[in-house]
Amino acid sequence: MLFAATLAIFITMLLAIIRGIVGPTLYDRILAVNMFGTKTVLLIALLGFVMGRPEFLDIAIVYALINFISVIGVLRYSDTHQFKHSPTLEDPVEKED
């Protein structure tokens, strides 16, 4: 049962990576990283149980924190003026497809 869950999580992470690489706008990539982060937290929790070593949960907590801080960092420094026009720059791309 645990193994099935780890497999599902692993596939979702792959999907997140694809979105991360393809993602047209800047915010798609941030979303992909955020989703990837939360999924890794789950993966580690599951691995902890699969491998029978419950100490892994400390790492899961750290993961969640670091993911939170890096997403905040990304957003905090992404609203400086260089990025102001670049999302709209990419916007026309958005509208065409």
């Binding site: 049962m1 869950a5 999580i9 792959l14 955020n34 997403v71 609203d79 509208k95």
Partner: protein
């Protein structure tokens, strides 16, 4: 007694992983950024919660149980906040959501370009 535990944890794990999986697919297939946001945000918190509850049921000693509760609380707190901040920053920087009228404009453009 432990049969019930394994069944219920199995049930939670299955539902949780299905939710996460659907979130992943939603992330790829949805056309616009905000719809993807919706897919990812919802399944993140709910799917994670379900899996963690599933793990809690089969966890053996108290220390592991308390850590799992901690992780659950954290994900429930962090998940929505990050989605909120992400959406606000995106909107703030002028990423217009693809609303219905955009569609009409595009269709109008396509139809007008196609028929003359």
């Amino acid at each position: 007694m432990d049969i019930i535990i394994t069944i219920s944890s199995g049930f939670f794990l299955l539902v949780g992983s299905f939710l996460c999986f659907s979130g992943g697919i939603g992330l790829l297939r949805f056309p616009d950024f905000y719809t993807r946001m919706h897919a990812a945000g919802v399944t993140d918190t709910l799917g994670a919660g379900m899996i963690l509850i599933g793990l809690m049921i089969i966890s053996t000693d108290l220390l592991v149980f308390s850590k799992l509760v901690l992780v659950l609380l954290l994900t429930l707190l962090i998940g929505p906040t990050t989605s909120h901040v992400l959406a606000k920053a995106a909107y703030h920087n002028g990423l217009m959501p693809k609303t219905l009228n955009n569609h009409e404009k595009n269709n109008a453009k396509e139809t007008s370009s196609s028929n003359p």
